[in-house]
């Protein structure tokens, strides 16, 4: 059956709410409207407005109350409407959601899942296309994960809700309508493991979320040039699966990290560091990055020039191969 990423996440939320009466879903417009992307469609109707409710327009309030609800014993799933609107909640996420379990020396558990549609490519106005993953991955105490396929959308969402650690769950919004032929429920690899989406021998592309599909397209095109690319979907950005990254580079000897987020201090920087630590003698070329530029996200009409695409990725592949 063809399932979109949005439908897969919706099904995971419903199945987890069904399985665990402590699971709550809340955020701006998630109730009657079903969310601006309809990811929570039907949940309020099915589970009632105590289990799935609209909040006032206040992101700090959403995350701060999620912390209180979790301390009481609920299992909150909180939606931030867009990536660029998580910042009012930065304080609650960084100072408390991430740190309180550690502060309590293990007595307080915060099984909160923060769902964030993220990334660009949808022609939106400012603040609706950001990739803030590095902020969260840089913050100890948060698990950060992002599905690149509908199957992972389902399976990782359920795992995120079941995790006793706080999870930042980044949903690649331009892939919400991406379909896969799948029967739900589906269980994919454990969330902390990276997955090889395509095997190759010449260069590894490390990617996640929205760029998984782009990298697979790049690998298809590269095959026409006679280049064999391996595509590794990181899935979990914190923790990172170092072993899988190192193993892939040991096979290919070359690595390119691809993400939409700006280059400087993005996930790519950490991936490159770990590869040189773990696979230094296998490297045939420096680890390169194909990413967004170090500028604010551009207006919609210019995003195609800003976002990494097949061309920018293949350009990096060529530079790596000819190094």
């Amino acid at each position: 059956m063809a399932v979109t990423l949005a439908q897969a996440i919706n099904a995971a939320l419903a199945d987890e709410m069904e399985a665990d009466p402590k699971v709550l879903m809340f955020g701006e417009d998630v109730g009657q409207l079903g969310g601006v992307f309809r990811v929570t469609d039907g949940l309020q109707e099915r589970f009632g407005d105590k289990r799935c409710y609209d909040t006032p327009l206040a992101e700090s309030g959403i995350i701060g109350t999620a912390i209180g609800l979790a301390m009481y014993g609920w299992r909150p799933v909180a939606e931030m409407q867009f990536d660029g609107f998580t910042y009012p909640a930065f304080e609650q996420i960084v100072s408390h959601l991430a740190k309180m379990p550690n502060r309590s020396r293990g007595t307080v558990k915060l099984p909160v899942t923060v769902r964030i549609p993220y990334g660009g490519g949808i022609g939106a106005v400012e603040h609706h296309s950001e990739s803030p993953e590095a902020y969260w991955a840089h913050t100890a105490g948060l698990k950060v994960m992002t599905p690149g396929t509908p199957d992972d959308g389902y399976s990782m969402m359920r795992a995120a809700i079941r995790s006793d650690d706080p999870v930042i769950f980044l949903e690649p919004k331009r892939r919400y309508w991406m379909k896969s032929d799948t029967e739900l429920p589906v269980t994919t690899e454990p969330t902390h493991e990276a997955v090889v989406r395509r095997e190759g021998t010449d260069v590894t592309l490390f990617c996640y979320g929205p760029m998984v599909r782009t990298c697979l397209e790049a690998a298809d095109q590269a095959a026409d040039e006679g280049w064999s690319l391996e595509v590794v979907d990181l899935r979990s950005l914190s923790p990172l699966d170092t072993a899988a990254m190192v193993a892939s580079v040991q096979r290919t000897g070359r690595a390119i990290v691809v993400h939409e987020a700006a280059m400087t201090l993005g996930i790519g920087a950490e991936v490159a560091a770990r590869i040189q630590e773990g696979a230094f003698y296998h490297l045939e070329a420096p680890v390169l990055r194909a990413t967004g530029f170090d500028t604010p996200y551009p207006p919609a009409k210019l995003e195609e020039y800003w976002l990494p695409d097949v061309d920018r990725i293949l350009d990096a592949v060529e530079r790596s191969l000819t190094f």
Binding site: E28, D29, G31, Q32, L33, G34, V36, D54, P56, L57, A58, E59, S60, G61, G84, F85, Y87, P88, G123, A124, V125, E126, H127, M263, T264, F293, D294, T295, P296, P298, P299, A300, K301, L302, E303, Y305, W306, D311, R312, L314, D315
Partner: protein
């Protein structure tokens, strides 16, 4: 420093919003809100509302034709925006959100320029200093603090200007407007917090947004008087704002105005309001239309005739046509400009990225990578 207000009752909003015009145009004089507008100004208010609605409709059409990515209509809110913006002096400043087409037109911001943000040509098009009109602010309520700071800055400099900021009913739930009111109260900043209560924040109705008796009540906790006005009554909106502005200009500090209005269109063109509100509710709201009301008033005063309507209609059409011409298939700018305004003093690393984009663009032009 000022001391706390002597009597909280002085800060409380009235039970009923100030209202001067009935929907049929009947005028009720109010000694607290005298009208200091001549016939020409009354017609001017009407004209600006009609032009705003026409441009607003054109923007919706342009979005449907794929010319704008999205658009947030101000239909139904013309009186709230134009009555309030018109009450300011030319030197006074406005810090808008994203829905203030009407206020922008009062400030003579080019309408097509205004819409370039929604087209995604650039992140903004107008020079705030040329119009005393700030940049559109999409993160809800954040601009309230900029307005408070701007007003503080003017006061520190003994500059007698007043600053006004717009936000929505939903915006009153965010933290920033509350911090803005805290600062404005403490520093007695000459700033007006003008809230268009259009009853919805996307799908969330007012009763799910707040348990306060009214939004204007929120102000009094900060030592700021809360005013309420019928926001579909352009004369009342003008008069109430005027009073608050003069009060601020005379050094009596900030004010909060809640204008009761209704968002007649979807939240934005991406929204489907049939999922959360009924046609009956919409039909009911249409009866309070601000433009019809003002037309009824002008007619009763013998200030309205077919000639006036034709002239305004012609001007509205001309503006809408100019907007269409300015937006339709408008070229985007040079992608390299993305690097131009990020830093005053860009570094070498930054130059390297600019060169990379330049090379990509050259490759695409040569057809190598197409």
């Amino acid at each position: 420093m000022s001391t706390a207000a002597s009597d909280p009752n002085d800060l409380l909003p009235p039970d009923e919003p100030v209202h001067l015009l009935d929907p049929d145009g009947t005028y009720h004089a109010d000694p607290d809100h005298p009208l200091d507008l001549d016939d020409g100004q009354l017609r001017e208010l009407y004209r600006m509302m009609v032009v705003t609605r026409k441009v607003d409709r054109e923007a919706i059409n342009l979005q449907r034709q794929g010319q704008l990515g999205v658009y947030a209509s101000c239909m139904g809110q013309e009186a709230a925006q134009i009555g309030s913006a018109y009450a300011l002096a030319a030197d006074d400043w406005i810090f808008p959100s994203y829905r203030e087409l009407g206020a922008a037109l009062v400030r003579e911001v080019d309408a097509a320029g205004f819409l370039h943000l929604y087209r995604g040509t650039w992140l903004s098009d107008h020079d705030p200093y040329a119009h005393n009109f700030g940049l559109m602010s999409i993160p809800i309520g954040t601009q309230a603090l900029h307005a408070a700071g701007f007003a503080m800055g003017a006061a520190f400099d003994d500059n007698p200007i007043v600053t006004m900021t717009y936000f929505g009913d939903g915006g009153t739930s965010e933290g920033d407007p509350h911090e803005a009111m805290t600062f404005a109260g403490v520093f007695k900043a000459p700033v007006i917090f003008f809230v268009q209560n259009n009853q919805y924040a996307i799908s969330v109705p007012l009763e799910r947004q707040t348990a306060a008796p009214s939004l204007a009540h929120k102000a009094i906790g900060y030592g700021i008087p809360g005013f309420r006005v019928d926001g579909n009554d352009v004369l009342a909106t003008y008069a109430v704002t005027r009073r608050a502005v003069e009060r601020a200009r005379q050094g009596h500090g900030p004010a909060f105005i809640e204008a009761m209005t209704y968002r007649m269109e979807a939240h934005t063109t991406s929204d489907d309001p049939t999922r959360y509100r009924t046609q009956e509710e919409l039909d009911e709201a249409a009866k309070t239309d601000p433009i019809a009301r003002m037309r009824n008033y002008l007619t009763a005063r013998d200030l309205y005739d077919q000639d006036l309507e034709d002239g305004i209609e012609e001007q509205a059409k001309a503006t809408a046509t100019a907007v269409r011409a300015g937006i339709y298939d408008a070229e985007h700018g040079d992608p390299l400009e993305l690097f131009e305004h990020v830093y005053d003093d860009p570094t070498g690393h930054f130059d390297h990225q600019r060169e990379q984009l330049q090379a990509e663009l050259a490759g695409a032009v040569d057809g190598e990578d197409l």
